[in-house]
């Protein structure tokens, strides 16, 4: 028995190499979020950014997973999702005779929905079509990836051993696809078609043609079955994936129309210039053309927008910009690790737009704090260049060594050959990750309210003491939004970032949140090896309150990143505003012990791996749980939120300055 958890990471890389884009590899159990669809019987399937594979696979070796994965990638390579009904009607005459456009048809109706709706049992047609497509893809894989042949063969023989041949046309067809010689003569035409599909270099329309040829004979078998299992499938994954690809085609059409419009406009201008104002018929004609093109463009634009939101609603949020990882979780109640329990999605914040107002505030904050923070960090500044003497190779001769060498030669002894000196930079090799809690509670205002800033106080300004209600400034003061925890967190990060950049240390800034074990989110504002740029500032500004606080996986992921960075000294500083909590973080919702213990374990693992950790919280009741969660002297409760940037730099200097 093979476990997906063992091979998931390799499979994701393999898929990325083969397909040239990233796919999340997720277990079919994680498919639960898609309530409308079902995966195929063997637990495989795909959505726009994910390939689903069974958590356990009965296969002789790990290549079984690769066969299933390649089948899914093959569907994309073979153009299954590029199926268009209009083209099918042109290329497959047998389909044209059957097809009657349904009344409910709109330009946005899915092509597969139309195709299967042509048949009286759409579900049956879909299953038959899938069988043909699978055969076509397997044939394609064997030809294009000759190395896969033996894996397909070994997996196929295992599958054939596991099942039994029956008279059912689908089982018969599938077994034939896996290489079994046909047993039932009545299905010989079907198996012949499958074999042909595997050998020929056909298109998706070849499979459609095969569907039209064989549907009736298969339909007969199922005609007398009461309560038929083949209900019309209103919603199917391939249909939505094909609709997703169709959006791209529409986008191209849109670009085409816009180009045509530009050309028309230029021509109209030319005509106008040539004929002057004497004859304006041609100009009017051109105007009409442009108008119709404009209408066409607007309709298409609207359609694309509507389709995009429908596709997103059906297939779920697009996470194609994220990468995903799975981490263990410590089950405190059973004193054991839950293997590959949490899925972490890592996403760059650069993809989200930040509020320009926040960016401005952050810029001001940097100016305000920079000098104090910089001073603290300068204490640990590296010593710079140092001359190293008595070495074998260098840019200068070391006089002392030369004299000694000469003395040795004179004395008839063999001299020391290390008589050069060289300037060397003293390295400071620190990699740090700041892990910022982006839970919903960071949206809370800081209490007590911020003291009034008297630095800009103008004593000359008259205050209307008689009628304070009439004072316009007072109104403004009331309307001013209160500063929130997230604001201070952002500011602290920006100040640290600019200071650390001057120091030359490598550092990363990650935010974390999520909801439930299958969706822990890490938002990368700055990757460890990135430089601090305007983009980083924007990314920090884009950090915003999200959902829950599952700390364990977030820490494990940060440690994983730090370990990969290869720095001699690794530091992880977590900034949060409360205890760890999440929807399914522990058996009881209200009990935080499970989350606390998992976080403590994650911090312990980090220490064991040589990562220095520190937890900062702005939760004043934090003392109770931090004491149990963090290693000794590796936590701090910030009493005054405004102290955060200052405290943070102190902690950083202490942690890394030793």
């Amino acid at each position: 028995m093979q476990l997906l958890a063992d091979h998931e990471e390799t499979l994701a890389l393999f898929a990325e190499g083969i397909a040239g884009r990233y796919f999340h590899i997720r277990a079919s159990d994680e498919f639960g979020s898609h309530k409308r669809f079902t995966l195929s019987a063997d637990g495989t399937g795909q959505s726009s950014d994910t390939v689903y594979l069974p958590e356990q696979l009965d296969a002789p070796d790990r290549s079984g997973y690769r066969v299933l994965l390649m089948e899914q990638l093959g569907l994309r390579e073979c153009g299954t999702f590029r199926f268009r009904m209009a083209r099918a009607l042109q290329q497959v005459p047998a389909l044209t005779t059957r097809y009657e456009p349904p009344n409910s048809r709109s330009p946005r109706t899915g092509d597969y929905h139309l195709l299967f709706g042509t048949f009286d049992q759409p579900g049956l047609a879909a299953e038959l079509f899938n069988l043909f497509e699978r055969a076509r893809v397997l044939g394609y894989l064997s030809r294009t990836y000759p190395g896969m042949r033996r894996h397909i063969h070994s997996y196929a023989s295992h599958i054939l051993e596991l099942g039994f041949p029956t008279e059912d046309p689908f089982i018969c067809g599938t077994r034939c696809m896996w290489g079994e010689s046909p047993i039932y003569p009545q299905w010989e035409p079907l198996t012949e078609t499958i074999k042909a599909l595997m050998i020929d270099n056909g298109t998706v329309y070849t499979s459609v043609s095969a569907l039209c040829d064989h549907y009736d004979s298969i339909r007969e078998i199922y005609a007398f079955v009461e309560s038929t299992p083949y209900q019309p499938q209103e919603e199917s994954l391939p249909d939505w994936l094909s609709r997703e690809e169709r959006i791209e085609e529409w986008q191209e059409d849109l670009e085409g129309i816009e180009m045509a419009m530009a050309v028309e406009m230029l021509q109209a201008e030319d005509v106008e210039a040539e004929r002057g104002q004497t004859d304006d018929t041609a100009v009017r004609e051109a105007d009409i053309d442009i108008k119709s093109l404009q209408d066409e463009r607007d309709t298409l634009k609207r359609r694309i927008d509507m389709e995009k939101s429908s596709v997103q609603h059906a297939l779920g949020a697009d996470r194609s910009n994220a990468r995903s990882y799975r981490y263990d979780e410590w089950d405190h109640n059973n004193r054991a690790y839950l293997r590959h329990w949490c899925r972490v999605f890592e996403e760059d914040l650069t993809f989200t737009a930040a509020d320009p107002e926040i960016i401005d505030t952050l810029r001001q904050t940097v100016r305000q704090y920079q000098s104090t923070v910089q001073k603290q960090l300068e204490q640990i500044r590296p010593t710079g260049l140092q001359r190293v003497t008595r070495i074998q190779d260098g840019d200068e001769l070391d006089l002392n060594a030369i004299i000694e060498a000469r003395q040795d030669i004179r004395a008839g002894q063999s001299p020391d050959e290390r008589f050069y000196s060289r300037k060397e930079r003293m390295h400071r090799d620190v990699g740090a990750v700041f892990l910022v809690d982006l839970s919903a509670s960071t949206d809370d205002p800081i209490e007590p309210p911020e003291p009034t800033d008297w630095s800009n106080y103008d004593p000359d300004k008259s205050v209307n003491l008689r009628d304070p209600w009439d004072d316009p400034e007072d109104e403004e003061f009331d309307e001013e939004p209160k500063r929130k925890i997230i604001d201070i967190q952002r500011e602290a990060m920006v100040v640290m970032a600019s200071a650390l950049d001057a120091l030359g240390d490598t550092y990363g800034i990650y935010g974390f949140s999520g909801y439930g074990k299958d969706c822990v989110e890490i938002f990368v504002a700055k990757e460890l090896d990135q430089a601090f740029t305007v983009g980083t500032l924007e990314a920090i500004a884009a950090m915003s309150p999200k959902r829950s606080t599952r700390m364990g996986p977030a820490i494990r992921h940060s440690v994983h990143r730090l370990m990969g960075s290869g720095h001699a000294m690794k530091v992880l500083i977590m900034i949060s505003d409360g205890f760890p909590q999440d929807a399914d973080y522990g058996p009881e919702r209200g009990n935080h012990e499970y989350g606390l213990q998992d976080t403590a374990k994650a911090l312990e693992e980090a220490q064991q791996k040589g990562v220095e950790t520190f937890c900062l919280t702005v939760d004043r009741s934090g003392q109770d749980y931090l004491k149990r969660m963090c290693p000794d002297a590796r936590y701090m409760v910030i009493e005054e939120m405004e102290d955060l940037p200052d405290q943070l730099s102190k902690i950083y200097a202490t942690l890394t300055g030793r």
């Binding site: 890389l13 083969i18 000759p146 190395g147 030369i402």
Partner: protein
């Protein structure tokens, strides 16, 4: 000198398959004695290109130079002294010995500084006076100002991909060169290169080139660069030497590009799927 300085005599034509107009541009740059900067990933043919061009140019001009190309592979400990020269202890006295750059400047060879950003900052500043109208090389330690030979040309290369931001080339250096960008060739051209260099069948060369294309999709994970054309050629040469293609790819590609076992496994799986 411990660093890799190859004094290339170039007796036979080094094979190079032009992918765009780089040959013409280099030729024109040489005619005007404009220094050239080659940008591109590891093993995509930058060094070979310089060798090829040197061979072409010196063959055409019938230059009697014994060493027409001086290559210096820069590394982080390479200082200006290593390039210009130094005093060496010889018997009872210290003797000045020219470095590779000075030698090229004096003789009129093409000096190729490979991976220039790897070298220390003082090295890059050193070449400034050589790359503008002055064409001189000041030697601090001897107080000499060496005027470049009329046929001398400086070529440098760097790889913008994997060096950290700290090691980026300064604009003041960058703007002294004619920049030629290199990248890995497409599957078809790369297959032709592999087939020629490794002397193997086109079919297997195509397979190796496909492996290169697919593995390069992974270049952000664990290895900074995709598999280079050079590695693919190595694998091809092993195949020609009678080693099984899978094994050749294993030792020539898989283990060579990353130490991360997961990445290695994924690359091995890609190789396994593509090779017959």
């Amino acid at each position: 000198m411990t660093e890799a300085v190859s004094l290339n005599a170039l007796d036979n034509e080094p094979y190079y398959l032009p992918l765009a107009d780089e040959v013409e541009i280099f030729r024109a740059a040489y005619a005007a004695r404009l220094p050239v900067l080659l940008k591109g990933p590891t093993g995509c043919g930058k060094t070979r290109f310089v060798e090829h061009m040197t061979w072409r140019l010196y063959r055409e001009t019938a230059n009697p130079l014994e060493v027409p190309l001086v290559t210096v592979s820069c590394h982080e400990d390479l200082t200006a002294t290593d390039m210009v020269g130094r005093y060496l202890l010889k018997g009872d006295e210290t003797v000045w010995t020219d470095g590779p750059l000075t030698r090229a400047v004096r003789t009129g060879a093409i000096c190729y500084l490979d991976e220039i950003v790897e070298a220390r900052k003082d090295t890059t500043v050193l070449i400034h006076s050589l790359t503008d109208h002055r064409r001189i090389l000041p030697i601090d330690k001897t107080g000499e100002l060496v005027s470049a030979h009329p046929e001398f040309l400086l070529v440098i290369s760097y790889n913008p991909g994997y060096q950290s931001v700290l090691k980026d080339l300064k604009p003041s250096t960058r703007q002294r060169f004619v920049s030629l960008e290199f990248d890995y060739p497409d599957v078809e051209a790369e297959a032709a290169i592999i087939a020629h260099e490794a002397q193997i069948e086109t079919d297997i060369a195509e397979r190796l080139a496909t492996i290169g294309e697919r593995v390069r999709n992974l270049k952000q994970h664990g290895f900074e660069e995709g598999v280079s054309t050079r590695l693919l050629i190595y694998a091809g040469e092993l195949i020609r030497g009678g080693i099984d293609p899978r094994r050749s790819a294993q030792v020539g590609i898989v283990t060579a590009i990353s130490d991360d076992t997961t990445v290695q496994q994924a690359v091995a799986d890609i190789v396994d799927a593509i090779l017959p």
